[in-house]
């Protein structure tokens, strides 16, 4: 049988339609597509794809199960190493991980591993009726700080081994960035809620409205009888550019904008939490968060949305699929442009004019690529005298975050690096005994799957530490 050189296209909502709703963009493979895509897997002996996965999912094995139409069997293989398959199948950057290593990819398109993973996870969620059972307790208690991807993964792995795990979440809903950051159209919140429920079935306690560093400290967790603590508190404080006009009304951090829409449901018709809707919007930045913010703005009714990014398409860090989706939906990419000032309305004759202080535009300067910098990417250099203005009503800054100081400030002896990230060794252990950390709190803003990998590593280290105690 001849191998199909291309992977099966992912069915998706029509761009013109989806640009105006918050329903999921990608619709998922049908059974026929999944089985047919699975046929493309060569089942290589050396399994290069597995080495590309931060949590080492046994990819060829689960794909073989799909070929046999044993979807629950496929799920069980994924579930051995990944706690959140329905999430990973949707938001992992497979093109730079497992699929980048796929043998098929040498000559053709790689196998659609992420799409198959999603199919299997969705099949399981749809069809598996049996709830996971909490295993027999081993008598050890572990506290997890933060219910994002690293915390949920760490909690799941430990719970499966019989640990009594409590997850502490600062916000009112568990899920961390999966809930407040990634929009509904990319990751439906019902899926995250189901993953959290699955953990509760395993006996994990999820305590919302508890801020570690404020409500309780890490030291108090030990006083309460927890024998190890994992800190997965996430990325933290949004960065701004330090240019004039960033305090004008209509300038948001991507964190605030996405939290208002995703967590606080400001996208609804009659929301309790307000958000600026409509008008023209500029999103500054080129990562996945910038794509999410831009596409959210569009769905909230913006008439025109710009992505303003200082480098070129080649350096744009967002997942290729997200960029493609954004383009299809009509997002206007203004590359090699850097904002120098945000402009606001000011009526000199009437200081009480209600329009005063609202954003009217953004002044940018054109850039060109110079010599490569420390990151290996060509450094963008401003072209003198090339400033121009875009008329916009809102500006969303999606240029990264810096770690949250709340835990560092209240945990004596917890070492952090120059940028505020928690320092860990190769086992995920911090400078404090029995305190582990992972995810964005350690690395700064990164991906869901790398955070999961860190949660997984810490879980294994905690298990090793407590079982030898």
């Amino acid at each position: 049988m001849a191998l199909d050189p291309k992977k099966h296209e992912m069915p998706a909502q029509d761009p013109q339609v989806r640009a105006h709703n918050f329903d999921e963009v990608a619709l998922g493979y049908t059974e026929e597509m999944a089985v047919s895509e699975a046929q493309r897997c060569l089942n290589c002996k050396n399994k290069p794809c597995v080495s590309g996965c931060p949590v080492n999912v046994n990819i060829p094995d689960f794909i073989m199960k799909i070929k046999e139409k044993d979807y629950e069997g496929a799920y069980q293989i994924i579930n051995k190493t990944s706690s959140l398959p329905a999430v990973c199948g949707r938001v992992c950057p497979q093109e730079t991980q497992c699929e980048a290593k796929c043998t098929m990819g040498v000559k053709f398109e790689p196998v659609g591993i992420g799409r198959l993973e999603r199919y299997v996870a969705d099949w399981h969620n749809e069809n598996a009726k049996e709830k996971a059972q909490a295993p027999e307790s081993n008598g050890h208690k572990v506290a997890i700080v933060g219910s994002g991807p690293s915390g949920l993964t760490c909690a799941g792995d430990l719970a499966k081994k019989g640990y009594k795990v409590s997850v502490f979440e600062a916000l009112h809903t568990a899920g961390g960035v999966l809930v407040y950051g990634i929009p509904e159209f990319r990751l439906p919140k019902a899926i995250v809620a189901r993953e959290v429920e699955g953990l509760k079935d395993l006996g994990v306690d999820v305590e919302t409205n508890v801020i570690i560093g404020k409500t309780l400290t890490v030291d108090e967790l030990f006083d309460m009888g927890y024998e190890a603590v994992f800190i997965g508190s996430g990325a933290g404080l949004p960065s701004f550019m330090n240019i004039p006009g960033e305090s004008l009304k209509g300038v948001y951090s991507a964190n605030e904008y996405l939290t208002r829409s995703n967590l606080m449901k400001a996208f609804r018709d009659d929301p309790r939490t307000p958000i600026m809707k409509g008008g023209k919007v500029a999103v500054v930045g080129g990562g996945n968060v910038a794509m999410d913010a831009a596409r959210t703005a569009l769905r909230l009714g913006a008439e025109h949305v710009y992505i303003v990014y200082r480098r070129s398409m080649e350096e744009l860090p967002a997942r290729a699929e997200e960029v493609e989706h954004a383009k299809e939906e009509g997002i206007d990419f203004r590359l090699l442009n850097n904002p120098v000032e945000i402009l606001g309305y000011n009526n000199p004759d009437d200081p009480r004019d209600p329009k005063n202080g609202f954003v009217t535009g953004i002044r940018c300067i054109r850039m060109e690529l110079g010599e490569p910098d420390a990151s290996g990417r060509r450094r963008p250099v401003p072209i003198e005298g090339s400033e121009f203005e875009l008329d916009v009503d809102a500006v969303i800054m999606a240029i990264g975050t810096s770690p949250n100081p709340l835990i560092k400030n209240t945990t004596a002896g917890l070492e952090v690096n120059r940028r505020g990230g928690i320092v860990v060794n190769e086992d995920g252990l911090t400078s404090r005994e029995a305190v582990y950390a992972g995810g964005d709190a350690v690395t700064g803003a990164a991906t869901v799957i790398s955070a999961m990998g860190a949660g997984k590593l810490a879980a294994a280290s905690i298990d090793k530490y407590l079982s030898s105690k």
Binding site: I211, T215, K249, E256, R260
Partner: protein
């Protein structure tokens, strides 16, 4: 949907953890004091810190400053003025009812170190925040002068409480219906011009008032701390909505009220910017409040 939710949550305790209103006291028709069961917060909260609450599952998150705690009972006191949709809903939660979320304590406690003589200047419902700060200084043995100001007599709150913890108390109303007539800056200016020296002036109230209290202090080079309460969502530094500009010797800096504050050196705060930012959702808020009021009225008449 909106008719259902504000009432139902008050009566029915759901399986999930909710927070009980242990005591409810109407201080003035639009000013209400609640004592909420939240043992972890009660154990930790210090004067100057705040909490964030949501009334029900659909609710927005609003910050309110802690007006007192009872760690033994595990309750936290909050005082709020009905100004918008959420506070309107909160007003309708009865004693014994529950609210959805209550998290804290947030922000930093008011600095008391090395302050032996303090002047507390509170305005309106800001007095509810100023009160525990005044009490704390009193407990620490400091000399406390309190100036509290209100629009008119029917809004005066906490006079007895301030009396108990202040060496000197001055009550002001804008319209002269109670106490002295005038702004809180009037007696402050009089005292400072008469040569009175305070280790610190602490002002808590509407932004415009704090701006003018700061200007008054500046005339006499008196040190002043202001308590900022901007719009925010998470209260832990994540959203950046609460950012404000401080003018320092090293230039302008962006600060987040939730993690860097809420107390700031009054001389450094850009009040005009903060006032402008506070009005970002003004039209929306007014509309939402009216809608909510109408729904309650409809429910009452039904």
């Amino acid at each position: 949907m909106y008719l259902e939710s504000p009432f139902s949550i008050c009566i029915r305790r759901k399986e999930q953890i909710m927070y009980k209103i242990v005591r409810r006291k109407v201080l003035r028709p639009t000013v209400i004091q609640l004592e909420v069961e939240a043992p972890l917060v009660a154990r930790k909260a210090k004067p100057g810190q705040f909490i964030i609450l949501r009334v029900d599952e659909e609710g927005e998150r609003i910050p309110l400053t802690v007006a007192g705690v009872n760690p033994d009972e595990g309750t936290v006191k909050i005082i709020f003025q009905v100004v918008g949709a959420t506070t309107e809903m909160l007003k309708h939660v009865p004693e014994g009812g529950y609210i959805q979320d209550f998290v804290g304590p947030l922000g930093n406690a008011t600095e008391t170190e090395g302050i032996n003589k303090v002047c507390i200047v509170g305005g309106g419902v800001g007095c509810a925040i100023a009160m525990p700060v005044a009490q704390e200084f009193h407990r620490l043995g400091a000399d406390v002068t309190s100036i509290i100001g209100f629009r008119s007599e029917d809004l005066v709150i906490l006079e007895d409480e301030f009396n108990e913890c202040s060496n000197k108390l001055i009550v002001m109303t804008d319209d002269g219906t109670y106490g002295r007539q005038g702004n809180v800056t009037v007696p402050l200016d009089e005292m400072l011009s008469a040569g009175e020296k305070f280790d610190m002036i602490i002002t808590i109230g509407p932004l415009v008032m704090m701006k003018f209290v700061t200007l008054t202090a500046k005339k006499y080079d008196a040190p002043i701390t202001v308590s900022m309460s901007p719009i925010m969502i998470d209260g832990t530094g994540m959203c950046g909505g609460c950012r404000l500009t401080v003018h320092t010797e090293e230039g302008d800096k962006m600060k987040f009220a939730c993690v860097d504050g809420p107390d700031f050196n009054g001389y450094e705060v850009d009040f005009d910017e903060a006032i402008s930012r506070g009005r970002m959702y003004f039209d929306y808020e007014r509309h939402a409040h009216e809608e909510t009021c109408n729904l309650y009225k409809m429910a009452e008449n039904a």
